[in-house]
Amino acid sequence: MKFRGKIIDIACLNHFTRVVTTISKLTKMCVLRLTPDNLFFVLSGKVANGGVSMWCELSQANFFDEYQMEGVSSEDNEICLEVTPENLSRALKTVQNAKAVKVKLTKKHCPCLTIAAELPTLSSVSRVVTHDVPVDVIPRRLWHEFKEPSMPDFDVSIYLPPLKTMKNIVDRMKNLSNFLVIEANLNGEMNLKIETDLVSVTTHFRDLGNPPWGDDASQDGGPSQSRDPESMVEARVDIRRLQQFLVGQQVNPSKAMCNIVHQSVLHLILLHEDMSLQYFIPAVA
């Protein structure tokens, strides 16, 4: 197993750092899958993290100037590592002005992702800083747990309001209730609702627009086709999970949308130029 990547472009380094930092805000530990073309940060839904799962896909060519890997074997040309993204984020944040940053899979006292950066100095010799981030290699027999999630058979798909706005609202709602209902329809309308014994608060969004998935997305030629555009579907979720998702966003995505499977799951999707992030929050009763 070998992995070696090099980032030279400052903007790419900055962007990569922000992606990793976003991931670090979503979860303490996750799996990093390395393939010849992509990097994936994966969190599989487990009871321990409230059933939340995440799939973040990056195209390596958009970040790395050099990228070489050799997977476990030629049939399984992939590397799967369990990593604490906060360590990676911390390491990357300190080297934002580097001339070059290398990320390598190494074996120090344990398997590590080593981030090695050459920093500019006034002297003739570069300053070199290395961070060894310990990782765990995930054996092949567990790889099936970290496959790309399939697109759920959603009832409504809708673009999200500006994330910052959503975050401000969710922050305030969190003070009142632990659960939030997100409902939306095919008319571009979305409501965020909380309800307690004393008070209920609803925030209405209009004219958000619905992504044109068309017939490809829905299996049987579409529940979305026959659905009444005014009729709302909803998912009631733990508000902290939604807040965690919103808090972590560092970059404004090109597109932000969510799919709702009625009373089942909230599927959030962020699309950037060179990165996509999917976040699944299960609905609670």
Binding site: M1, T106, H109, V129, H131
Partner: protein
């Protein structure tokens, strides 16, 4: 004693007091002929700091003669005068919570890395290492290859002060166990931070002829070596990974690097040092409770008499710190 500080010096004085407060809870104020000395020591006696403000610092400085404490500083073999910016830039790579850092020097370079105990946490701790070339410093003179480990947190107090005043910082280090001293100086003040370092633990040495107790500075240009073969991971991934070799990497120091132990006192005087009792309390993870040389203060000499070669005479020994830390 009656001293008046005015103008921008008030801020300097405040910052000095602030940085001393990062060391210990009590401030010792001692008026002396050659200035006002402000000192602090931490409760475990592993860090000491002193600022001496010359009479010129004050708009008025009048003292009555009082008790004189005396202190002598440890021998320093190495002198590294750091650009402040360099030091600040170095420290930024390490997390704010980091306790201990190991500084290693060779002829041409300095390495700074976080120190991790070789226990359960070692296999999962993130290791950071920064390599600085000698020509990044104003002045760099290392006569021996040395590695010392001390508490980074206590250093940050000095950095905050030095950053606000823009003064260069000098670092003096010796072998493991001897204190490392960091100083800031200008015409009206002198500040010294004295930090204890981990001593050589014979059980940690891989080879009795080598002086450093941790891995010696790695060969230079390691970063430039792109040979992937040296980083191959040979693991059978069909079984769950187990912990790999978690022992500390063996020192790879080349050449004879036995540190010198001068028999005679040099131009700097010496602090009375006693071995701290080895405390077996596991919940105390801090530097002073390891096998360690703590600083004991017999007496405190004004820094200006550092050049004296007088041997120590009778000292007033403060009580040893064997109290538990919580």
């Amino acid at each position: 004693m009656h001293c008046i500080v005015t103008g921008g010096n008030v801020k300097v004085l405040a910052k000095a007091v602030h940085s001393l407060s990062r060391i210990g809870d009590e401030l010792y104020v001692e008026p002396q002929e050659d200035g006002l000395a402000l000192r602090s020591v931490n409760s475990s006696r592993s860090a000491y700091a002193c600022f001496l403000f010359a009479p010129l610092f004050f708009s008025r400085y009048s003292i009555t003669s009082g008790d004189n404490f005396r202190c002598k500083m440890a021998i320093k073999l190495d002198l590294i005068s750091l650009l402040l910016r360099l030091l600040v830039d170095t420290v930024v790579h390490f997390p704010p919570s980091l306790d201990e850092v190991t500084v290693s020097v060779s002829d041409e370079r300095m390495w700074v890395r976080n120190h991790v105990e070789e226990e359960a946490e070692a296999s999962k701790a993130m290791l950071t290492e920064l390599c600085l070339a000698s020509d990044e410093f104003d002045h760099f003179a290392a006569q021996a290859h040395n590695s010392v480990t001390f508490c980074l947190k206590e250093l940050r107090g000095l950095l905050v002060f030095a950053e606000s005043t823009g003064l260069p910082v000098s670092m003096y280090l010796d072998e493991p166990g001897s204190p490392v001293v960091l100083s800031v100086t200008d015409s009206v003040l002198e500040g010294n931070f004295v930090l204890a370092t981990l001593s050589d633990d014979p059980s940690l040495r891989k080879n009795s002829s080598k002086g450093a107790h941790t891995a010696a500075p790695p060969p230079p240009d390691d970063f430039m070596n792109d040979d992937m073969d040296s980083y191959l991971i040979a693991m059978d991934t069909s079984i769950a990974p187990g912990p790999s070799n978690t022992g500390p990497p063996p020192p790879s120091l080349s050449g004879d690097t036995r540190s010198k132990r001068p028999a005679a006192v040099s131009h700097k005087a010496r602090i009375l040092i006693e071995e701290a009792e080895e405390e077996e309390t596991d919940d105390l993870d801090r530097l002073p409770n390891k096998k360690f040389r703590s600083l004991f203060f017999g007496s405190v000499l004004p820094p200006s008499s550092q050049l004296s070669t007088q041997p120590m005479t009778s000292q007033e020994v403060l009580a040893s710190d064997s109290e538990e830390e919580n």
